[in-house]
């Protein structure tokens, strides 16, 4: 492997942390359910990046396999989540998560 092309694994981890933070902040500050959803995906993919990086650092495949699991789960979650968002939008004409606040004390 060429030294020039090899990048320190720490950089990937930092990138993953940055992406995760962007996703988390997005979940906390945005109202639109779709945007929220994308932020969640961002966090999941940040986690995937970190897992793959750990796999690289440790020299085994465990992290990569975990990343596949995360993808599958994320895909399933998207299907259900989008369906919920759609049905909420149909009844309330809004995709804002702050409007859907009936389930409370």
């Amino acid at each position: 492997m060429n030294e020039f092309f090899s990048v320190e694994p720490d950089y990937y981890l930092i990138l993953a942390a940055v992406l995760f933070t962007i996703g988390a902040v997005g979940v906390l500050v945005r109202r639109n359910a779709i945007v929220l959803f994308m932020c969640v995906e961002l966090m999941l993919n940040a986690a995937n990046l970190a897992l793959v990086t750990f796999s690289r650092i440790n020299g085994d495949l465990n992290g990569q396999i975990m990343a596949f699991f995360v993808m599958v789960v994320a895909a399933a979650e998207v299907v259900i989540g989008l369906a919920i968002i759609m049905s909420i939008f149909r009844t309330r004409r809004s995709a804002s998560v702050d409007d859907a606040n009936l389930l409370k004390y």
Partner: protein
């Protein structure tokens, strides 16, 4: 003196002695279960069952006379069997039980007959006869049991029947209260009896009469004293003796036949029966006998004094019952041959007191239920039969020879004078004074009711004699009042000698402080003075309104303040205690429980505010939690928390 008490097995006809209890019980059950369907003929079933029991009782009595060992028992089944402890459901038929059976069923039959007419206008007549039969069944069980638990069974049974019958007219508040009062005061006595039976079980391991009587000689003196005092407490409760006498006069709220049968002739004498039956226990301790005699002497004077101041015909008779049972307690307390004398007086009293109560009922029947003797007068012309029969009862109770009271009461007075020390004067004097007072108040009652000017209320025009069904029992009881004394006093003591443990009357030289002749003359003299004084004072009637009176009469009208005493010493602190407990319960215990619930409820009400419904705030808390977990991992990794 230490003779062994042994009972033979009942054989032949006597084996069916349980029928005596069963017949009235079945009759009571039928009357209660059939309800209104039995209204038309129920009272005749009630009368017939007691009649059948009387005939059976007579048959058993004659069977018993022919036997060598006159105490036969019949064990029916095991009532309680726990480990070594066994209680028979067993019956004992001996001379003592036999005379009681004849008294209960004989007098009971006459009073049942009387009640058919007396209660004929009452819609609850069938219920009345059901309770009445229940009473007879329980009373027979009481006197026929062969152990103390059986006795207690019957004891509670008669208590129940007495309660039901006192408050028979339960829609009257006074009757309901009187029933409760009787029940509660009896409970005090019953608790004593129950603890006494527990002590027997604890010390002797048995409650069978024969085993208890044979074992009592081996007990420590203190144990016997405590045991006897507890039995005496039970006896005073049931028999209306001091200090538990207050319920008996109030019990007159019940129908008059009830007063006659239960609260004069039979149930209230159960205490005398208990002491006579337990005579090996009472004879074993001198102090115990002294206490019994004192209770008897005190009560007989108390009853006389209060009876002399009362204006309600039934209450005068009730206090007279209290007083006469005092004589019986005096008798059983004196021990030895006096046991038999007390039983003779009990039987004679059963006749003449039932006679007078039924007579009072007959008067009330003719006078529109008036009970105030100040409102009677001159009735001898209108109620000839009631007048004559009542007169026999009156002469019998005050002890005019040759009527029954003379033969039954005078020997007890003489016996009281036979004690060795100065107490002979005390108890003999009390009994003698009681005889004079009895003559006074009974003559007052008789003269005010049947003689003197008419003082009737305006709504009575022409009082009528009662129907035949009421006068026939009166006549029969009057014959009993006249003849029973001589018959009983000559036959019963010998007959009772065969009762195991009941010592015979030793008619040796009486070494009393006074000779028997002097006592006889004195007692007749005292009686005549009392009666003459009452006749002199009341021959012209009396005022119909309450009159101001001296200290003694005022006190006697208020039952010598015994009720006030009970109220102040037992009732008031009891009520205070109850209130304090209720307060403690509602504020303390309930406060703790309710406070805990309120605390949890309030806390959760505040906590649930965290559920805002905003998804992003949930996400925030999840994130914070996740960061905390990561921080904790890192801290552990770095060794900060190690």
């Amino acid at each position: 003196m230490e003779e062994t008490v042994r009972y033979a097995e009942a054989t032949g006809l006597l084996g069916s002695v349980w029928l005596l209890v069963a017949i009235p019980l079945v009759s009571a059950a039928i009357l209660l279960l059939l309800g209104r369907r039995a209204d038309r003929w129920g009272h005749w079933l009630g009368v017939a069952s007691i009649g059948a029991a009387f005939v059976l009782g007579l048959t058993y009595f004659f069977q018993l006379r022919g036997l060598e060992n006159k105490s036969v028992e019949r064990s029916l089944w095991d009532f309680i069997a726990v480990g070594d402890f066994k209680v028979d459901f067993g019956l004992l038929f001996d001379p003592l039980a036999a005379v009681f059976v004849l008294l209960i069923t004989g007098v009971g039959f006459l009073i049942h007959l009387y009640a058919v007419e007396y209660m004929s206008h009452d819609p609850g007549r069938r219920r009345f006869f059901a309770y009445f039969n229940l009473f007879v069944a329980a009373m027979l069980l009481l006197v026929l049991g062969n152990n103390y638990v059986m006795l207690y069974f019957g004891w509670e049974g008669v208590g129940l029947a007495s309660y039901l019958l006192i408050s028979f007219w339960y829609e009257r508040p006074t009757a309901a209260t009187a029933g409760k009062k009787a029940f509660l005061m009896n409970r005090v006595g019953d608790a004593g009896l129950a603890i006494g039976i527990f002590i027997m079980f604890a010390t002797l391991g048995t409650t069978q009469y024969d085993e208890v009587f044979n074992g009592v000689g081996g007990l420590a003196g203190g144990t016997v004293l405590v045991l006897g005092l507890l039995l005496l407490l039970g006896a005073t409760g049931k028999s209306g003796q001091f200090p538990l006498q207050a319920w008996l006069p109030d019990a007159m709220e019940g129908p008059t036949p009830v007063s006659a049968l239960i609260h004069a002739a039979t149930m209230v004498t159960a205490g005398v029966y208990l002491i006579a039956r337990s005579n090996p226990i009472f004879s074993a301790n001198e102090t115990l006998q002294l206490v019994v005699v004192s209770v008897g002497a005190l009560t007989l004077l108390l009853g006389c004094i209060i009876g002399a101041a009362k204006d309600d015909i039934k209450r005068v008779l009730a206090w007279s019952t209290v007083s006469q049972i005092g004589y019986m307690f005096l008798g059983v307390g004196l021990g030895g041959g006096a046991y038999a004398l007390a039983i003779v007086h009990l039987l004679a009293h059963g006749f003449f007191k039932a006679n007078m109560f039924l007579g009072a009922g007959s008067v009330m029947h003719g006078m529109k239920d008036q009970v105030d003797i100040r409102r009677f007068g001159g009735l001898s012309k209108y109620m000839k039969i009631t007048w004559i029969t009542f007169a026999t009862g009156w002469l019998a109770i005050i002890g005019i020879p040759p009527l029954s009271g003379y033969f039954s009461k005078e020997p007890i007075i003489a016996k009281a004078f036979e004690r060795d020390d100065w107490t002979a004067w005390l108890f003999g004097g009390a009994a003698m004074l009681g005889a004079g007072l009895t003559a006074f108040y009974m003559t007052r009652l008789f003269v005010l009711t049947f003689h003197g000017p008419k003082r009737w209320t305006d709504d009575i025009e022409h009082p009528h004699e009662s129907p035949k069904l009421m006068t026939i029992p009166l006549i029969l009881l009057a014959v009993g009042s006249v003849a029973a004394g001589w018959l009983l006093s000559t036959s019963v003591p010998d007959w009772l000698t065969a009762t195991a443990g009941l010592g015979g009357a030793e008619e040796g030289e009486a070494h009393g402080v006074l000779s028997h002749t002097v006592i006889t003359i004195l007692s007749i003299l005292v009686t005549l003075i009392g009666a003459g004084l009452a006749w002199f004072l009341f021959r012209n009637g009396t005022a119909t309104e309450p009159q101001p009176a001296g200290v003694l009469v005022t006190a006697a009208r208020k039952n010598l303040y015994t009720d006030s005493f009970n109220e102040a010493v037992f009732e008031k602190p009891g009520i205070f205690l109850t209130r304090a407990l209720v307060y403690l319960d509602s504020r303390g215990v309930d406060g703790l429980v309710n406070g805990l619930a309120a605390g949890v409820g309030g806390g959760s009400g505040r906590l649930r505010r965290l559920q805002t419904g905003f998804v992003r705030s949930y996400a925030m808390s999840i994130l914070t939690g996740a960061l905390l977990v990561v921080a904790a991992f890192l801290a552990v990794q770095a060794g900060w928390l190690a």
